[in-house]
Assembly symmetry: C2
Homo-oligomer: 258 residues x 2
Amino acid sequence: METLKIIKIGGNIIDDADALDQFLREFAKLEGKKILVHGGGKEATKLAKRLKVEVKMVDGRRVTDGDTLDIITMVYAGKINKNIIAKLQASGCNSIGFSGADGNSIIATKRPVTSIDYGYAGDVVRVNTSTVRMLLEHHIVPVFCAITHDEHGQLLNTNADTIASVLAIALATVFKTELYYCFEKNGVLMDVEHDDSVIELIDTEFYSELKDKGIIAEGMLPKLDNCFHALDHHVSKVFIGKTTMLFDQDSKFTTITR
Amino acid sequence: METLKIIKIGGNIIDDADALDQFLREFAKLEGKKILVHGGGKEATKLAKRLKVEVKMVDGRRVTDGDTLDIITMVYAGKINKNIIAKLQASGCNSIGFSGADGNSIIATKRPVTSIDYGYAGDVVRVNTSTVRMLLEHHIVPVFCAITHDEHGQLLNTNADTIASVLAIALATVFKTELYYCFEKNGVLMDVEHDDSVIELIDTEFYSELKDKGIIAEGMLPKLDNCFHALDHHVSKVFIGKTTMLFDQDSKFTTITR
């Protein structure tokens, strides 16, 4: 099977215009089939403040009321996504911006209200890959923002890491999918204070050990759970590190395997 | 050749949630190949006010400085476009949102600065139809917002009427293209005070006469010039009226012919 790289970038790149420009120029040159997934960085929070819309976070997740959904739709699907597309086209990389509503690609349901009401937060229930596959076959790169829909006309806010992993899982039937989580560190670290303490390989057994010893910090737990979930569902490889892991042979990063 | 309908909707529909919902439900059912083009209505102006960004208009065109470009990108390509897509999917109409950057579909140049600097306003120079044609062949409806790009990474604000007509012209080589300009009136009126005074047919000769007599009001001149320009460039038919002209056999509207 042909390899498909699914690359998720986070706020450290999106919030830094120069870093984003450089990344997109390198991404454009990356050979083979690829999909880009982006979150919204601090841009949505900045706009919320300017519009005096309260930003509420519970366990690191944004509570998405109606005003907040409008804001993230404007920032993620509008400003960030379209500027990424324009920059990629400038580098000769033909691309199309996607929310989960476009091409009916990613269907979610509004998260049930328990003790916490996350508002318009969507949990993914299904992925339709037909449009994405057609574009990939025609050498057009899909660029996904972190928005899904419920097939009843409602947009929903969905974690960008999850968008990347559900795409990698759904496309694993037709591609050898590789999932790249790019973030601000060189990988999963033995010592969060030292960026050179990268753990090069984590498998299921070692992961248990790292958790038992409390080496994996709280923020990394959902990220790594997500990685193992993807590997459990036929994703070929998962990598965590800086974007350099994609372009620089000598860079260090973390590989996650079963 | 197969018929392709290119339908442009304006502020009177976009600004009215119920009217938009009803239109989209009917649009979804419309048989045959179709493309939807939308402007931004008053939404962009409202957001500009909330963000205290000055709205400057010259001759009915928005002066687009950097902040204004961000606002229209957020509103047109984000909020309005993605909500339209989600609503269409809910009605079983598979669709994908487009700016001119997506699929490198509509390339423009920044309008040269003369006595007036329109800022990031784009005049269309080229249309690439390959991606749009591929989607149409697969029964996916492209939904265009009024944003283009310059192929050097810059998004540009472009009049939605123009987007609709350049698409109709470019696709006229492979489809019998029909252009529908939907707005708040029943068509071009003999007497602007009377909505039932619709002129049913305007050809080149009659248009000259109407202009000479001062019957065509100022706001309609660029719209009609646009229509005749499209007809000069192999667009099959152009219609102006309310959205009812698309769905209701008995409705009155204006047909423009050469």
